[in-house]
Symmetry: C2
Subunit: 334 residues, 2 copies
């Protein structure tokens, strides 16, 4: 299988290559794609060297599968052309996520959405937003078992969600230097910025609305009562989420713990007596979504708190995209 990785030199692209290697997907040829200034650069993958090519060259190479992690504009323009050339595209940008004809997939939750109504496979698949993916992995088992009544999320998001330059900004500020590029409109070192992605007229940021809209689509609950506050913190290891969930049916902490401990993609870390709870430093570099601090919230009926942490570059981006590929009927046939 010829696999293109568009945005191969970016933060998500690099983790993508790493996950592709680890998962031993049947990649016969890698086609790393990046912008003009990286074309010609050499990239190592599975013990072989590959040269970064342009979008046009990648298209001409007719990949079977293409992962896009190069921003919404690139995906909007190029994903349909790759599909036309015969590729299945898994797009990590927000460009296609809310398109009703494009499935938005977290394999643990809605792998069935990969197939069209007439049984053929979708050729363009959207990978959800990082904050949404980890939330879905944690909430889906609860929806299945007890039904979701209302969800209130506050995030603690890693700077790696904004790419290399944001991580550079944090590092420069930590070292007391002036950052080369200011990705955030304010210092992020020693600060908390309640502003991820751009603001819409409603006063919500796009990041907050992605959590709301994408969750509804992935869970196939168009009326789900869900709201979010998205916040950037000076952290690189992963995104944390404080999740308050009201369920439709009665349950208890022990039952939720047992359910989530056995749910796909989740590692339960919930032993406060031993200071064991999910943290970005422990989520970094691994695939499971860590869930802990599960508590009964007495302020509403059937309400509970969860604390959900994941590496936003792995399960929040690269791993989920590769997981989607692993579920493709085309790939299963290989």
């Amino acid at each position: 299988m010829r696999v293109a990785v568009v945005g191969a030199t970016g933060m998500v692209g690099q983790v993508m290559l790493q996950v592709l290697e680890e998962r031993r997907l049947p990649v016969s040829e890698l086609i790393p794609v990046a912008t003009a200034k990286s074309v010609g650069r050499e990239i190592r993958f599975a013990g072989k060297a590959y040269t970064v090519v342009s979008m046009e060259d990648a298209l001409r190479a007719k990949p079977d599968l293409a992962f896009f992690s190069a921003g919404g504009g690139t995906s909007l323009e190029w994903a349909p052309r790759f599909v036309e050339a015969g590729a299945t595209v898994i797009d990590n940008s927000s460009a296609w996520r809310m398109d009703p004809s494009v499935p938005l997939v977290v394999p643990e939750v809605n792998a069935q959405a990969l197939n069209t109504a007439d049984g053929t496979a979708h050729k363009l698949i959207a990978n959800p937003n990082c904050s949404t993916i980890q939330l879905m992995v944690a909430l889906h088992p609860l929806q299945e078992a007890f039904g979701l009544e209302r969800v209130v999320v506050s995030t603690y998001q890693s700077v790696t969600g904004s790419g290399y330059r944001a991580a550079d900004q944090l590092r420069a500020e930590q070292e007391g230097c002036s950052p080369e590029a200011k990705v955030y409109p304010h210092p992020i070192h020693n600060n908390v910025i309640p502003h991820c992605d751009v603001f819409e007229d409603s006063g919500y940021t796009k990041e907050e609305l992605k959590i709301v809209r994408e969750s509804r689509k992935i869970l196939d609950l168009p009326e789900l009562r869900i709201t979010a506050t998205a916040v950037r913190v000076p952290v690189t290891g992963g995104h944390s989420e404080s999740v308050n969930v009201q369920l439709k049916r009665e349950t208890c902490v022990a039952e939720i713990q047992a359910l989530l401990a056995n749910a796909p993609g989740i590692k339960l870390v919930d032993n406060p007596a031993n200071n064991a709870y999910p943290m970005p430093k422990d989520a970094f570099g691994i695939d499971p979504v860590l869930v802990g601090r599960i508590r009964k919230d007495e302020s509403a009926d059937n309400a509970f708190h969860l604390w959900v942490v994941a590496d936003n570059l792995r399960k929040g981006a690269a791993t989920n995209a590769v997981d989607i590929a692993a579920h493709l009927p085309t790939l299963s046939r290989v």
Copy 2:
């Protein structure tokens, strides 16, 4: 007025001295108190030098007013003895907060609690927890105007809430050194720790339950539906809070903004179009509680989001204590 500051060399004590100077309280004599290893040290206050004394010596000096910021054990043992010796004690520890005979005061909210039923003044007054104070300043106007139906809080707390050694731990970790003392059970640099204060059997931390219990007492709403998740972030400037509030009566964002813009102790910072919202870096060193990111939450009736930030050492501790002193009938008479 002779004023004792117990815990004068600690983080809160130092800010206390600063705020006392700024506010020009009629301090005729300062009595700085600290543990044995600091006794004899010199402290400058309002242009004069004072020598740190022991608890026993401070008691013998018969202060009119004593601020305690030296931990619950010290307050439990010594506050009653200072009261007996004629002092009014304003205690910043958690020792007396939930005692029904001790008023728990945020002056903007419940200054009236400083007087007893028979019209005499209380001699032992508790200063609330830092996370609670800023929340109360923001929520009280909403309670007065619309009634509080339910409150869900997630905090982003500064390491300064755990004293000098915690700030040292963060600094050492940032510089790649091994911290002298590990105040937190995990690294805090580049990490988020969902664990402030110790765990109770319910799975909640004491910090979370302080927010719940103290809020109910201060607002005099013993049945208030309120819940919290308290989280430590690698920040020193102040505490941030993501607050989801359901009100009893209908209102709109503009009305809440107008209300809070004119509420005591609040500075409204709510202009997302100009990237203006509350942040710890801006709250640091000032007294107002910053409130912004006010949004309608469509997931429940009359629900709204607020983002609330304050310097936890000033309004969250020292400033509130000094504000209490300024409201004392005894002091007003001076």
